[in-house]
């Protein structure tokens, strides 16, 4: 098992009551597994997590991309800047 810290923003941050959560995953793990674990462990976050993207080391990542505890991981809900 490994612990992955996940940055949360905007409504995701409020739904999870915190700007960072720690999720436990068995290694090796992918972005897709992380999103599933977030939805499972923080049920209020599930609907938004479903339609969010993820970033690894400040770059958009696909569900198939691998993550390690050294990566900076973030959930990116649909953006609304501008």
């Amino acid at each position: 098992m490994m612990k992955i810290k996940v940055k949360l923003f905007a409504a995701a941050r409020e739904l999870a009551s915190g700007s960072e959560v720690v999720v436990e995953l068995s290694a090796p793990a992918t972005v897709g597994q992380l999103r599933a674990a977030l939805a499972r462990e923080i049920p209020p976050l599930a609907p938004l997590a479903e339609r969010s993207l993820a970033a690894v080391n400040a770059q958009y990542a696909d569900d198939a991309d691998a993550i390690t505890p050294d990566d900076e991981v973030a959930l990116i809900p649909p953006v609304s800047g501008g």
């Binding site: 940055k7 923003f9 905007a10 409504a11 409020e14 938004l48 339609r51 970033a55 400040a58 770059q59 958009y60 973030a74 990116i76 809900p77 649909p78 953006v79 609304s80 800047g81 501008g82």
Partner: protein
């Protein structure tokens, strides 16, 4: 040049950067806080960013725009925190030898920014309610 700031955006500074003698046209776009949306009154907007990633995504947009159009200056500034009514949350200043490129690049930059840059807007309505805006992505 790309920048995130918690201060009011200095549009004049951006125009001064864009007004270079190699350019013949400057387009400045400002996205400003609108009071009414679908009949509901907004009191203010608040913006939050994943700052490190937002800066790199903005820099990527600048590079892509410079690859597509012959831009003299390409400056993108996004404000974070509270943005009162009629003040700018985002400013994009581009200049180019001829005007078509400046208009096209300016419009492409704001369209792309709204799709890819990790910045979020929270509507604060005049009735006291607050709501994060998370639009359905295209094709969802």
């Amino acid at each position: 040049m790309v920048e995130l700031t918690h201060e009011p955006i200095d549009a004049l500074r951006l125009l001064a950067r864009a007004q270079q003698p190699q350019a013949g046209a400057v387009v400045l776009f400002l996205g400003i806080t609108r009071q009414f949306t679908a009949g509901r009154e907004t009191a203010e907007l608040r913006y939050e960013a994943y700052a490190e990633m937002a800066r790199s995504e903005l820099a990527a947009l600048e590079q892509q725009a410079r690859g597509r159009w012959p831009l003299v200056e390409c400056a993108i500034v996004h404000r974070l925190g509270v943005v009162p009514l009629a003040e700018a949350s985002v400013a994009i200043a581009v200049s180019s030898p001829h005007r078509a490129a400046a208009f096209e690049a300016g419009q492409w930059l704001i369209d792309s920014l709204k799709q890819t840059v990790p910045i979020w807007k929270q509507e604060h309505y005049s009735d006291g309610a607050a709501e994060w805006v998370h639009p359905e992505p295209p094709g969802f």
